[in-house]
Amino acid sequence: MSVHAAELHHDVAHEHPGERTYIKVAVILAIITVAEVAIWYIKSLDFLLVEALLIMSTIKFVTVVSYFMHLKFDDRRLAWIFGLAMVVALSIVIALDVLFRVHAIDYATNFLTS
C-alpha cells in the first residue's frame, strides 16, 4: 500500500515553477500591459488596434492561467474542465450577440416605437 501511495503521489504531484519564474512571468505581463496602453495612444497604429489588443490580452490570459494558476503543470483534466468552460462561455457570448443584437433589439425597438 505504501508503494501504491508513492506511485499515486508520483502520478499526481506536479512541480510548480519557482519564484524566479514567477517574477519573470510578471515582468512579461507588465510589459504587455504597457504595450496595450501604448498602442491605444499611438494613432498611427490605429489600423491594427483591435488585432493587437485581442492578441495581447489573450497572451496575458493564457500566461496567467498557465503559470500562476499552474494549468501547464497540473493534471491535464483540470485544463480540460477550464478549457471546456471557456468554449461554453465563448458560445454564450456569440449566442447572446446573435439573439439580442440582431433580433431582440429590433423587436424591442419596434415594440417601444409602435
Binding site: M1, S2, H4, A5, A6, L8, H9, D11, V12, A13, H14, E15, H16, G18, E19, Y22, I23, V25, A26, L29, A30, T33, E36, V37, W40, L49, V50, L53, L54, M56, S57, K60, F61, V64, V65, Y67, F68, M69, H70, D74, D75, R77, L78, I81, F82, L84, A85, M86, V88, A89, I92, V93, I94, L96, D97, V98, F100, R101, V102, I105
Partner: protein, 243 residues
C-alpha cells in the same frame, strides 16, 4: 487499517512540497488522485466563466445600443468615450496584475514552510486588492458625479453591473486572503495546508484574468471597432447559413 495509516503517513512525508500529494492535508483525495477541493474550485471557476461571459456579452451588445440611441437623439449621456479614464484604469489593471505575482509568491512561501513570508505576501496581495477596490470606488463615484448611474442608459446599466460584480468578487477575495493571514497568525497555515493557499490563489488569479478581459473589451477597444468585429462575425455566420 494499520497499513492505511502507514500509507497516509508515507504519502504525507513524500508530498510536503507538492500540494497535489495525497494525504497532503488528509482525506480530501478523489479516486482520480486530485484533491476534491481543488476540483471543486476549478468547477466553480468554470461556472463563473459562463457568468462573466454573459455579463460581458450583454455589455458589448447594449453599449453599442446606447451609442446609437444617443446619436438618434433618443438616449441619455454620458457615453463610454466621454468618461472612461484609460490612464487611471491602466494603473488599476497593473495593480491587480501585480497582486497575482504576490499571490504566487505567498504560495511558494507556504510550500517552503515559511510562515512569515506567507503572511507578508498574503498581506501584500490583500493590500493590492484593496487598492484596486479603492480605485473602483473612486471611479464609480466620479462617474456618478458626471451623471452616469445604473439607470441613466444601457451603457451605465451594463457597465456598473459587469464591473460591480467583478468588484464583488475582488472583495470576497480580499476577505478570504485576510482570513488566511489571520489563520496563519494562529499557526493554522502550515506547509501541509498549502492546498488552502493554492485554492484561494486560484480564485484570486481568476479575478485577475477576468479583469484582463474587461480591461481590453470595456476600456481599450473603441465601440466602432467592436461593431466592425461583430458585423464581420455576422457576415461569416450568414455565409455559413447559420443566420
Amino acid at each position: 487499517m494499520a497499513t492505511t495509516a502507514v500509507d497516509i503517513q508515507t504519502a504525507r512525508g513524500a508530498g510536503a512540497a507538492g500540494h497535489d500529494a495525497p494525504g497532503h492535508t488528509g482525506g480530501h483525495y478523489t479516486s482520480i488522485g486530485i484533491d476534491s477541493r481543488k476540483i471543486g474550485m476549478w468547477i466553480f471557476l468554470a461556472s463563473d466563466c459562463m457568468f462573466f461571459g454573459s455579463l460581458i456579452a450583454t455589455y458589448m451588445i447594449y453599449r453599442g445600443r446606447a451609442d446609437e440611441l444617443f446619436r438618434n437623439g433618443q438616449g441619455n449621456g454620458p457615453l463610454p468615450h466621454e468618461i472612461l479614464d484609460i490612464p487611471y484604469t491602466s494603473v488599476s489593471a497593473f495593480v491587480l496584475l501585480m497582486s497575482s505575482l504576490t499571490m504566487v509568491l505567498a504560495l511558494a512561501a507556504v510550500q517552503k514552510g515559511d510562515p512569515r513570508g506567507t503572511r507578508i505576501w498574503l498581506l501584500c496581495t490583500a493590500l493590492l486588492g484593496s487598492i484596486f477596490l479603492g480605485g473602483q470606488y473612486f471611479e464609480f463615484t466620479s462617474f456618478h458625479h458626471e451623471g452616469l448611474s445604473l439607470t441613466t442608459n444601457m451603457f451605465g446599466s451594463t457597465f456598473f453591473t459587469l464591473t460591480g460584480f467583478h468588484g464583488f468578487h475582488v472583495t470576497l477575495g480580499v476577505i478570504m486572503l485576510l482570513s488566511l493571514v489571520f489563520l496563519s497568525m494562529r499557526g493554522g497555515v502550515t506547509q501541509r495546508d498549502a492546498i488552502n493557499v493554492e485554492i484561494i490563489g486560484l480564485y484570486w488569479h481568476f479575478v485577475d484574468i477576468v479583469w484582463i478581459v474587461i480591461f481590453t473589451l470595456v476600456y481599450l477597444l473603441p465601440y466602432e471597432k467592436i461593431n466592425t468585429i461583430q458585423e464581420s462575425g455576422h457576415q461569416a455566420m450568414r455565409f455559413l447559413g447559420l443566420m
